[in-house]
Point group: C3
Chain length 157, copies 3
């Protein structure tokens, strides 16, 4: 029965990750990652080893205040795999506005994470996602959105 | 106190349904339905009786790889109605791109499901939704979206 | 271990709030608020004191059937602060269509709520949000969306 408390704690961990990401709270975001965390964003296109490298990538991509980002994590399918380890599949949506360039990106995909308890607190040990689709709207494209890629999830499962 | 574990299991059941739906994993999707499951999608406009009929409809509508679908189920209000039965209300959003026709659909609505435990595992016994709105964008409509219907939920509650 | 049941009850409370809001069920929406509830929507731009004032504002803004609204509350970070009190942070998305004016609003932000148990049932004692962004599309703007404000959340945390 302790299991359900662990699952709730893991959900709140992921929610904190996204809240800090979209609020540009990089120090607080660091609290949710293990020191040796790894990331494989966008089917491994953006891969990083260690908390500092992940934070450098995220703050470098989204740190400027002209960038408005929204990342929503839905549909947690969390499994405890040991006393101090867990896995989670999430279905996410994102929407990012680069205000200076009048560029918008939106899309969705599946996260596959691993979690580890460090000193009694859950942290993200590995995070990564494969997109189901991504669309882009540029200043030049008027109001039309172009589809840039999709389908990795159909092969990965 | 077991109740909360059942509710978590029912959430994960629904999340698996949507993940399989949007990943076109029809066999795995079949695992979440009872054999005698019924469906009444879009206020009953698309109604099916039995797991095979439901799977045939879903795979027929969304099975082609040119169709990109995103279905998100939010706001679970789940109630246990017996030792092996439960009900759930969900607020969903969907977005579907028919890439060949350059056609996009988006909308939202409320699911009202019934669940039943079969051999110790929760399954969907009935699923159905009423939309709150739906919008469509076609190749000919440029970037404008047309509202095609809404309002059933205002009467059904 | 009772804690997790309280958290689930608080989630369902908020889901009922949004379901009633978007279904224009004002009496049922009143059930989720304490009599002395306060609201500070949009960084306090729309502030109300007492259940009647909140309901008057919400039904006045969204009560007309020509208005289609969708409010989704995600990422609950709920903390019990006492036997009968709790707090919650939520990440929301909204989308509103004013059909007569052909006007659409969409955006996101963070709710920061307080909850209180009254006669054994959780109610919303205070609710309020700060937006991360808001976009508007008017009949005159064609299919372009204009960004109207954002960034409060970067300072408030």
């Amino acid at each position: 029965m302790e299991e359900i408390l662990e699952i709730e704690a893991l959900k709140q961990l992921k929610y904190k990750y996204f809240r800090c990401l979209d609020s540009k709270l990089w120090d607080e975001l660091g609290e949710v990652l293990t020191d040796d965390a790894t990331a494989a964003y966008d089917s491994g296109k953006y891969s990083y080893d260690g908390k500092p490298a992940i934070l450098e990538f995220l703050s470098g991509s989204l740190g400027d205040r002209e960038v408005i980002s929204m990342h929503m994590g839905h549909h947690p399918e969390i499994t405890l795999t040991g006393a101090d380890t867990a896995e989670g599949v999430w279905y996410f949506e994102d929407y990012v506005i680069f205000t200076k360039a009048d560029l918008r990106l939106r899309g969705a995909g599946f996260y596959r994470d691993r979690y580890r308890k460090v000193d009694g607190r859950w942290k993200i040990e590995h995070t990564g996602y494969a997109r189901t689709y991504e669309e882009m709207q540029t200043a030049d494209s008027g109001a039309k959105w172009s589809l840039t890629h999709y389908g990795d999830h159909l092969d990965s499962d």
